[in-house]
C-alpha cells in the first residue's frame, strides 16, 4: 500500500543531486558536532538518521509500510550488547553479531509478513515485533529485562596499532560517523543498481512488476533483509553510544518513530528520512529544554507538515526545485 504517490522518484531527481547526495550529506554530518546543541545529540541524529533511512528502503522504495522496525533496531542493539556484556567479544565482532542477528530476524519476519498486504502487512509486522519485545522482556538473564542491558561500556577501541578513547565524545562521533557514511554509501550503490529499479517497480505497481517477470516475493524479502541489516547497524551503534540497551528500543513506539521521521523528511527520497530524523530530534531537544509541554509543539508541527508539506521537508524542496526548472 501506501507508497506516497506524490513522492518524486529518484530517477526524476536532478542528476547533479543524485551524484552528490552522499558527499553532500557526509559534509554536513562531518560538521554536525559543532552545529548541534550537543555531541550526544549529534550521535543520536547519525543513528536515527541511519535507522530511518534503512526503514525507508522498505517503505519509500518498496512501498511496504512496516510497523515493526523496532525489532531490527533492537536486534542490532541487543545482539551487540549481549556479545559485549555476556560473551566478552570485541567491539568490531560485536557489531558484526548485532547486524547479523538483525538480518536473520528480518528474513524471518519478512518471510512471514509479506504473505499479507496493505494495512494487514503493517499489522503483522507490528504483532511480530511486539512478540520480540515480550520475549526480550521475559529473557532477563540475557537481556536484563525491564532494567535494560548494562555492562557493555566500551571505553577504548583498538584499531590495528591504535587505541581510540571512545569515551571522548568527539572520537565517538567520528567513529560512528564512519560506520554510518559507509552504510549509506553501500545503500546508495544498491539503489542505483538494477535492484533499486526493480523494487521501485514493485512499489509503483506490483501486478505489472510480476507481469514483467520480476520475482516479486524474493525482491521484497531481499529488500526486507537489507532494511533489517541497515537498521541493525543503527541499533549496534546505539548500544555502543549509550552503553546500555533499554527495553524501550524494541517497543512499538520506536517503530512509529521511523515512520514519522521518514514521512517528515520525505519518504521515497534518499536523504529525506535522514533529514526528517535530524529535524525531529532537534525539535524535541530544543522544545523539551523550554517546556515540559514539548509534545504539543511536536504534534502541531506534524499536523502542519502533513497539511502543508505533503512530500516531507526534503521531498518538497526537491519538488520545488524541479518546478522552478520546468
Amino acid at each position: 500500500m501506501s507508497a506516497p504517490a506524490a513522492a518524486p522518484l529518484p530517477a526524476d531527481q536532478p542528476a547533479l543531486l543524485l551524484r552528490w547526495r552522499l558527499p553532500l550529506l557526509a559534509a554536513v554530518l562531518a560538521t554536525l558536532p559543532w552545529i548541534a546543541p550537543s555531541q550526544a545529540l549529534a550521535v543520536n541524529i547519525l543513528i536515527y538518521g541511519l535507522y530511518a533511512t534503512g526503514f525507508n528502503l522498505l517503505f519509500g522504495y518498496t512501498g511496504l509500510l512496516s510497523f515493526g522496525h523496532a525489532a531490527f533496531l533492537g536486534a542490532g542493539a541487543y545482539g551487540t550488547g549481549i556479545a559485549l556484556a555476556r560473551l566478552g567479544i570485541g567491539w568490531f565482532g560485536a557489531i558484526a553479531i548485532g547486524v547479523a542477528a538483525s538480518g536473520v530476524l528480518a528474513v524471518l519476519i519478512g518471510a512471514l509478513s509479506i504473505r499479507s498486504r496493505g494495512i494487514y502487512f503493517s499489522m503483522v509486522t507490528l504483532a511480530l515485533a511486539q512478540l520480540v519485545y515480550y520475549i526480550a522482556f521475559q529473557a532477563d538473564d540475557w537481556t536484563g529485562g525491564e532494567n535494560g542491558l548494562r555492562g557493555l561500556t566500551v571505553s577504548r577501541l583498538r584499531v590495528g596499532p591504535f587505541a581510540l578513547d571512545f569515551l571522548n565524545p568527539v572520537v565517538k562521533y567520528y567513529v560512528i560517523f564512519g560506520f554510518v557514511v559507509a552504510a549509506l554509501w553501500a545503500l546508495s550503490r544498491v539503489l542505483n543498481a538494477p535492484f533499486g529499479a526493480a523494487i521501485e517497480a514493485i512499489r509503483e505497481n506490483e501486478g505489472r512488476a510480476l507481469a514483467c517477470g520480476f520475482d516479486v516475493r524474493r525482491m521484497k524479502l531481499v529488500a526486507f533483509a537489507l532494511s533489517g541489516l541497515v537498521c541493525g547497524l543503527a541499533g549496534a551503534l546505539d548500544a555502543l553510544h549509550l552503553s546500555i540497551v533499554p527495553i524501550d528500543t524494541l517497543y512499538y513506539q520506536t517503530s512509529g518513530l521511523a515512520v514519522m521521521m521518514a514521512l517528515l523528511g520525505g519518504a521515497g527520497t534518499f536523504l529525506g528520512p535522514f533529514i526528517g530524523a535530524a529535524i525531529f530530534l532537534l525539535i524535541e531537544d530544543t522544545f523539551s529544554l523550554w517546556t515540559s509541554h514539548w509534545q504539543l509543539f511536536v504534534g502541531a508541527i506534524f499536523i502542519l507538515a502533513v497539511l502543508f508539506l505533503p512530500r516531507g521537508v526534503w521531498g518538497s524542496l526537491i519538488a520545488w526545485h524541479q518546478g522552478r526548472r520546468a
Binding site: W91, D140, S155, F162, T249, S292, Q295
Partner: protein, 413 residues
C-alpha cells in the same frame, strides 16, 4: 575490550588523526576555571506519568541549592542546578547524562525516578568517574555487578521497604498472597516480603500471582487472588499500576476479605487515586510531612519548603530530591572541593541528617541506611486538610540488619 574508566592509559592512547579533531573538546575542559559554579545535573521525568513527583523533586532540589548558596556555598563558590527531562526513558536519560557531563561539565549528577532509568544513568556516570546520587528505588544498583564507586543510593530500596511493611503487618499464622508486576522491581519487592516472612516464621505465602508490567486491567488476576482467601494481599507494583490494581481489588471485594499492603505508598499517586479505594491500605515511605512533630530536620525542611511554595508541603519523592542534593553539596563542602575521590571519602560511612532524622551511607555498597515510615491511608471523612492523607502507624529506624549484607550483594568484604 570492556575496560573501565579506571584504565590508566585511557587518555594517553588517543590515536591517529582523531587526536586533532578531539582537541577543541579537550581545550574546553582545560579552560574550566575553579571559580565556576558547581553544576549539578538533575535528570528527572518532567513529562510522563510521574510528572508531579518530578516537579516536586525539582522544587526540593532547588531549595537545597538555594540554602547551600545562602550559607556561602563552597568557600564562595555557588551551586547551580541543571534540570533535564529524562522522559522516564533510559535511552533519553543516558543521552541527557552524556550532555550534562560532556557539554555542561557538571560536577555531579543527582536524580532519576525509576529502576531502569537510574541504572542507565549509573552506567554512563560510572564509566566516566562522575559522582552520582540516585534517588529512586532499586535493589540492583547497589549489587556488585552494577555498583560504581562514584554512585551513592540515597533512596530506600525494595528490600528495606517491603521488609519493614512485612515486619509491621505479618503475624505468625497469617496467609499472605502476593500480586506482583513481572519485572525486576516487582520481583525485588516480592522478594522483600518473602524474606521477611521467612525470617518471622509461621507466615504462609499461599499465592504469588504475577501480572505483566504496565497492565491497565487487573481484573483477570483478581478472581484467583480472591479464591485463596488470604489475610493479607501484598501488591508489588508502582505508581499507576498500584493505583489501578488497588482500585480493582476493591471492586472485586478483596479489601473486605483481606488487608491490602504495598511496599511504597506515594503521596502524589494517592492524590491521583481515589481516597475511597486507598482507605486503610498500609504501605512504606521514606518521608511524610507530619513527622515534623518529632523530627527537627523535617520541621526545618517543611518550613523552608512552605516559605518557598505558598504553604504547601513536600512529597516523599520531593524529599529525596532535597536530601540527594544536600548530601552531595555538604560532602563537597567538607571535602573542600569537587574532586570525586575526596568527595567519595567524605560520603563513605558518613552520618548525616538532611530532613528525616539520622542516616548513614554504608561504605561497602553506598546504600543509605535510614528509617522506613509505615503509613496508613486515611478515609476521606478523617482528612482534616487536602494534604492530610496518611496516618504514621510506626517508624522502623534504620539499621544495618534490615539491609541485605554486602556479602549477599556480592561485594568483597
Amino acid at each position: 575490550m570492556n575496560s573501565t574508566a579506571t584504565d590508566p592509559g585511557r587518555r594517553a592512547v588517543l590515536g591517529g588523526g582523531l587526536a586533532a579533531l578531539a582537541a577543541p573538546a579537550l581545550l574546553l575542559r582545560a579552560a574550566r576555571a575553579a571559580d565556576e559554579p558547581i553544576r549539578i545535573g538533575f535528570p528527572t521525568p518532567l513529562t510522563g506519568p510521574f510528572g508531579a513527583e518530578a516537579k516536586d523533586q525539582v522544587r526540593c532540589a532547588s531549595l537545597a541549592v538555594a540554602q547551600f548558596n545562602a550559607a556561602g556555598g563552597l568557600n564562595g563558590r555557588m551551586a547551580e542546578l541543571l534540570v533535564r527531562d529524562d522522559k522516564l526513558n533510559p535511552g533519553e536519560a543516558a543521552t541527557r547524562t552524556l550532555e550534562l557531563i560532556e557539554q555542561d561539565h557538571v560536577a555531579c549528577i543527582v536524580g532519576s525516578l525509576s529502576s531502569s532509568v537510574q541504572l542507565a544513568v549509573n552506567e554512563v556516570t560510572k564509566a566516566r568517574g562522575m559522582l552520582y546520587v540516585s534517588i529512586s528505588q532499586s535493589d540492583t544498583i547497589t549489587e556488585a555487578s552494577d555498583f560504581g564507586r562514584t554512585t551513592f543510593h540515597e533512596a530506600l530500596n525494595p528490600h528495606m521497604t517491603a521488609g519493614a511493611v512485612a515486619r509491621y503487618v505479618f503475624r505468625p499464622g497469617m496467609k499472605v498472597a502476593i500480586l506482583l508486576a513481572d519485572y525486576a522491581y516487582g520481583n525485588e519487592m516480592a522478594a522483600g516480603f518473602r524474606r521477611a516472612a521467612a525470617a518471622m516464621g509461621g507466615v504462609e505465602i499461599v499465592l504469588e500471582q504475577k501480572h505483566p508490567f504496565g497492565a491497565a486491567d487487573y481484573s483477570t488476576f483478581l478472581p484467583r487472588l480472591r479464591s485463596v482467601k488470604p489475610d493479607v494481599v501484598c501488591i508489588c507494583n508502582f505508581g499507576r499500576d498500584q493505583a489501578n490494581s488497588i482500585k480493582q481489588a476493591v471492586d472485586f471485594g478483596i479489601k473486605r476479605l483481606a488487608r491490602i499492603v504495598v511496599p511504597v505508598l506515594l503521596y502524589n499517586q494517592r492524590l491521583a487515586g481515589s481516597a475511597d479505594a486507598f482507605e486503610g491500605v498500609v504501605g512504606g515511605a521514606n518521608y511524610y510531612w507530619t513527622i515534623e512533630d518529632r523530627v527537627a530536620s523535617a520541621k526545618a525542611f517543611n518550613d523552608a519548603y512552605r516559605a518557598a511554595n505558598n504553604g504547601a508541603v513536600p512529597s516523599d519523592y520531593g524529599a529525596y530530591g532535597y536530601s540527594g542534593v544536600r548530601l552531595m553539596l555538604e560532602a563537597m563542602r567538607r571535602a573542600g572541593g569537587v574532586a570525586p575521590d575526596a568527595v567519595i571519602r567524605e560520603l563513605e560511612g558518613a552520618h548525616y541528617d538532611t530532613c528525616k532524622g539520622p542516616e548513614t551511607m554504608r561504605a561497602c555498597d553506598h546504600q543509605a541506611i535510614q528509617s522506613v515510615l509505615i503509613l496508613e491511608s486515611k478515609a476521606k471523612s478523617a482528612m482534616t486538610s487536602p494534604a492530610d492523607l496518611f496516618t504514621v502507624l510506626a517508624t522502623e529506624e534504620g539499621k544495618d540488619a534490615n539491609l541485605r549484607s554486602c556479602a549477599d550483594l556480592g561485594h568483597k568484604t
